[in-house]
Symmetry: D2
């Protein structure tokens, strides 16, 4: 029994990743692809400037691109994967939810809304329960679920592992890949022989989303985690894979070995896209590295390494593939969790 | 009145920078260049594989390379600039000092020794007074003075500016240029489409040297600054210019503007290699950047930017040219300070 | 006696280079800067997103940007430097010439027109004589002069040196810098860990422009050089500096030394921007290299090296700075030649 | 029925690729790994600094490294894959062949020896017949077979396709990946924001090896192809994948379509490592590109594109993965051909 799904914003970089990740998926079958009006009416094969490293699946290439409009979505579609600029998403996602579609979205709008679940399935899948509140409040037949920002996803799984020791505060510096800015987001003139010490809005996303993800859900609302998070975000000349230096100040003393063990103990799920192991912890101080380790678990794995004790807790490196685990793959995994929990 | 100087380890990358920086210097004239026995006896022009972006000065190119041995240094030489691997420096520097030479060294050995001044002239030039202690204890006619590691130099000037607000602790993440590892230190296979989250020994240097540099000298010894410093060091694909994200926790509340003002107020010196301004503070959040800003003050300037308030203090970016302000230029500036203070 | 000049398209990348190169110029003073209507009326300082590595000259930063329209150009301006997309240039340059302005243009339109001089001053300055024909035919008080494409300029000076041996045909493969495509022309996703084997329109420019530049002018028209030129153009991950592999098939046998001598013998001119030497020939087989050699002659020099004999002639490498000698600097040098020859 | 094989020089970069490519191979099983005396006696897992992107196969990791000496090779080993510096290979390969081993070698020594087959199986598999001559002349029970240099392999398959039109001469410019120089062959300081116009010895290899590969074997010796080949070799900042611009002057006129068809018609073989299709020809002018196309056929495919007609023939781009099709994979494929033709 497969669920027919649609991809909203299917011609963009993340949209293409959705197409790639959904090929031969055990739960899902692509029934519709939508894009801006300028692409509507054309075969997907022509409308998308395909840049993914595997060929366009034939049956998707042949689909006619539709406008992103509830009236254009076929009736048999139940779930929509969405990745749009946040201002566009803020306009098109609510009508889709109102029309009865469940939307698993990578867009940044409404991630911090109280009645919108922000979910990493291995970490806080129980937060999906917020959907009952959402449907009550918004009167939707559909639903809206979000995954966090790529830089947040890279860090939070390891923090979840450490939270048994009581996280009091986090300092995190990122070395983020250029693909995180979209195909044309960083020019070659900006990044060759250079690094950029600022990514607009990114720091705030890490600081707020991480507290919601690690917050507790009491059936009614999510209480944000009380830790302070301070992020400093940088862009470097890597194609894929966000590397992060994380200082976690902890209430309890921990050894390097205990911290590693706690990260390795974060369980994988029995969902098609959940990697096993979820978190790979390297003993080597110079790992993980973006090019060597970003494809762990087919790009859905999270890596850590270089764990050191500090006076107040631990310092370590974290890594994840920003356009797979950090974007399209995150939304797909959320879709799988929706199926498993019976929300569709 | 010029002082005749020598360059110890003159054929290496930093040695070549010394040759470049000392050309037409108002205080110094190069009288001798030394290197390992395999290069001794050959003209410098042939012994050095010249890679600096200005031509070899003719009179230096014609010098015959000597072995690094007190017996080989001409009598009229008074000051030696040294940059050697620390294990080599630990063997050759003391005999040179014993033989009466003043050695301004970029090598990492003995930087933390109690009777060795570790100096950034604009910050703690008074620490040169330790030389009296050193001469007493070691019975040297010469003297040994050190400049800090390139990653330390990048951060400490801005911290000096902030210390009026009471620095309690520092977290720092670095994005360091490949030249810091020497000409062949980082292979292209390691760094293209990649970043390396570890540089051996670097973190400890930043954590200890910074406390000595900002410590107070009472005429007898240096009391280390009491701040805690925790560093996480990364290598990225830039040629020159170390970029650092610095969190400084402060005893007093400060605004972004006050922090910027305090950094700008760190004075320049009236020495030939001291840049004016010493610290350039950018208002733009995405500056400084390595390629755009590393040549401020002919590579001797320090830059800061992106200052933000945090709950505990400030977060900002710092940048300096690692092979000029962070290595050869640092030793030359220390040499200038030695002259000005009359130690020669 | 300075000439008041204007910069057309002053806010773009090449426009900014014009501003930089014309600061403190012995012949020229900037009297006006123009740009598209959206920038008109704003101070240049605000309208230009300044990315050149020296500061905006104050008096230019204070100029109010004008629309690119003859009615907007002050009367005391005599010479205009232009760098616009060719389709825009094709519309705005002729009215400016008709209105009496002399336009030294880097834009690619009309480079091959029979009555438009295409000039590298050191190579074919006599071609300026075409301007008499141009004024006759077009009825202009002003005049239009072009410099060639950056990839053409890199190769042609060395060919001019070899032409005494009778060039019969040329094969040339280019490794071009990303700046040649404009600030945003090549994305980081396209070029990190990659090379692009195609640059639209570039090959034809090299094949046609080179024959005009080396053609002979009889006072009435230019007879194209009879050599066949076949170009293959590639983009690589360098910031500035086009490197080219050139095979020149020659009528006469030449030795490597004779070829080098012939290139070195191409004379420099006594103009402010003409470098001396014009062509630097390296004996080392691995030179010139973009990063090491692009700033020869302040970016106006041309370099060659790695000369080898082939069965039919010679094979060698050529290099020039594409945004200085290959763009803005080329137009400025043409402006200087116009002054010297008395066309203004 | 599998053949037990050994890897000579197994700890190096190409040696590691051999281990990777031979895992689960239908013909071969690794029975021994050899290296220099300093590694002998240690488990392969420890002796090799493993850098390939798949894990070390367990049974190989557990093998004890042997010295490269006939006395150290177990009796059941029949075929050795070798990749050593040419000077080392020249010393160790002949004794191994004399001792009865068949050596499929990637090392550059003896590639042009008259009694040594230089083979690309899809192109000139019949040249293996030279082994009868070799055994006669050298009195070996074993045999020595070579694959060409990585830059040669990239170009020759496409030339083989075109040779039906009569290749008269070839000009080729290469943009070669840094991995071709070995893991530490190109430093980051050399190649960031740069390109190197020279690779020692590379041009001569392309010029001679290509004529042998396309030469005809009459049962006794190989008559070299009569075409002139002139190569210009450059290093660029790509990790893997040599890109080449090839001008082939042809006796007959051909259209772009005919040239593409002739390349596509070069047949694949029914061997485990032979890709299908062998040559992928792109219609797009900006393909193939190293990062996008180097993994065609699991790195064993050859790509062409951008075919243009020239006055004398055609100009096009060629690409192959230099460390798979151009090195270890080439030797493995030669080993498969040896099996199929019954030389073992």
């Amino acid at each position: 029994m497969t669920t027919t799904v649609g991809i909203v914003g299917a011609t963009g970089a993340v949209g293409q990743r959705f197409v790639q990740l959904l090929e031969d998926h055990p739960f899902f079958e692509i029934g519709v692809v939508t894009a801006s009006p300028s692409s509507a009416g054309r075969p997907y094969r022509e409308a998308a400037k395909w840049r993914v490293d595997t060929p366009i699946p034939d049956h998707v290439g042949d689909l006619t691109v539709r406008a992103t409009d509830p009236a254009e979505i076929p009736d048999d579609v139940e779930l929509l994967f969405s990745s749009l600029p946040s201002s566009v998403a803020a306009e098109v996602e609510p009508p889709l939810c109102e029309a009865g579609y469940v939307v698993s979205s990578n867009s940044s709008n409404e991630r911090m809304a109280e009645d919108v679940p922000l979910v990493i399935p291995e970490i806080n899948g129980d937060h999906l329960g917020i959907l009952d509140v959402q449907r009550d409040e918004r009167g939707w037949d559909g639903a809206l679920i979000k995954n966090p920002n790529c830089s947040t996803i890279t860090m939070v799984p390891t923090l979840a592992g450490l939270d048994g020791f009581g996280i009091e505060s986090v300092h995190v510096a990122t070395l983020q890949a250029v693909s995180g800015a979209g195909y044309s987001g960083v020019t070659s003139m900006e990044i060759i022989d250079n690094a950029l010490p600022h990514i607009g809005g990114e720091e705030e996303k890490m600081e707020t989303e991480s507290r919601k993800l690690l917050g507790s859900f009491d059936g009614g609302e999510v209480a944000l985690h009380e830790m302070d998070v301070s992020a400093s975000c940088n862009r470097v000349a890597t194609l894929d894979g966000h590397l992060e230096n994380v200082w976690a100040d902890l209430a309890e003393d921990v050894t390097t070995a205990e911290a590693a063990e706690a990260m390795r103990a974060v369980p994988s799920l029995d969902l098609p896209s959940s990697p096993d192991p979820f978190i790979t912890v390297f003993d080597e101080p110079d790992r993980p590295q973006p090019r060597l380790d970003r494809t762990l678990g087919d790009g859905m794995g999270v890596a850590a390494g270089g764990i050191q004790e500090t006076p107040d807790g631990v310092l370590y490196n974290a890594l994840a593939h920003n356009t797979i685990r950090g974007a399209a793959g995150a939304s797909v995994l959320n879709g799988e969790l929706l199926i498993e929990q019976g929300w569709l």
